[in-house]
Symmetry: C2
């Protein structure tokens, strides 16, 4: 079956600091036209920083869309064209003060590929050493650490709902199991 | 530390069929003002349909934001106010033709809580029986099934990148391990 859609027109609706919204019309496989609302986003990088005792570093942060404080793994937005690995090293340092000897790439994910171009790259950081945080002036967060096994239980109990944190922890759990 | 932001103004920028974009100004913990771009979305439901031989049903679908055909678990958007469970039963039937005797709730996730209000609920469906698909007129997809163990390997190899599919498969893998 032909599943492809062909773009007919594309129009920018809004350009913001984080996202750009565009509206495309496409030709469906059956020849009819349909509209597609697309959110452009530079993507981001998230880090599972794991110490020798299998604790993971987390940040508590206010998330305005849900009007809630969430517990998440450290992460940050990519600049357009930036290398995900450099971004990960920088964001880990900025948000937690940590540096790491070893980074393993755990894969990337599309947050919601039906309408949004955001992709998040995840790294596992080990061989950690502490340093000073360096937050952006409009960034407010608290750092804490929790055992990986506890985080896995919190995820299975649906007490952690942030996609990058859920994927990061579940993947690291499987990754270190496969290393043994 | 006080991490909360207080909304000062809110303005609707765009109202589409899938998303609504609004722009808020907020008061940061340090008393300064900042802008927040927020994408409203009704949320969705995704289903891991697992048969007796531990195969999972998947759909292949064109995703315009990435101009790619992706392999995903069946899913659909919630209507505002709709119960996630009813939506899951309906979407599974529409996209694959399947009905299920047993549904277990596996949790929900926020796709990108920094800017987006979309939340996706995931169910595990077992005790499957086949029936007729019933796609929306503008929906084009192909159904296939793959062993759960193969999907886990594809995810660890970063060959499946859709967030709901990654989370659904990783959670089901952990869930059925804990059942034994």
């Amino acid at each position: 079956m032909n599943l492809h859609e062909k773009t007919v027109t594309t129009k920018k609706i809004f350009e913001g600091k984080v996202i750009t919204l565009r509206y495309d019309t496409v030709l469906l496989p059956n020849g009819e036209e349909a509209g597609r609302e697309i959110v452009e986003h530079p993507g981001g990088v998230a880090i599972v920083a794991l110490d020798e005792e299998e604790n993971v570093y987390l940040v508590r942060q206010y998330r305005h869309p849900f009007e809630k404080i969430l517990l998440e793994i450290p992460a940050g937005k990519l600049n357009y064209g930036e290398d995900p690995f450099s971004c990960g090293v920088r964001e880990l340092k900025e948000e937690t003060g940590l540096s790491a000897k070893q980074f393993d790439f755990l894969g990337s994910f599309m947050v919601s590929p039906g309408f949004c171009r955001e992709k998040i790259y995840i790294y596992l950081a080990r061989g950690l050493s502490a340093g000073n945080m360096n937050l952006d002036p409009d960034e407010f967060l608290e750092v804490e650490k929790k055992p990986l096994a506890d985080l896995l239980n919190l995820i299975m109990a649906n007490e952690i709902e942030d996609a990058k944190t859920v994927i990061g922890i579940l993947k690291v759990n499987e990754y270190i199991k496969r290393e043994r």
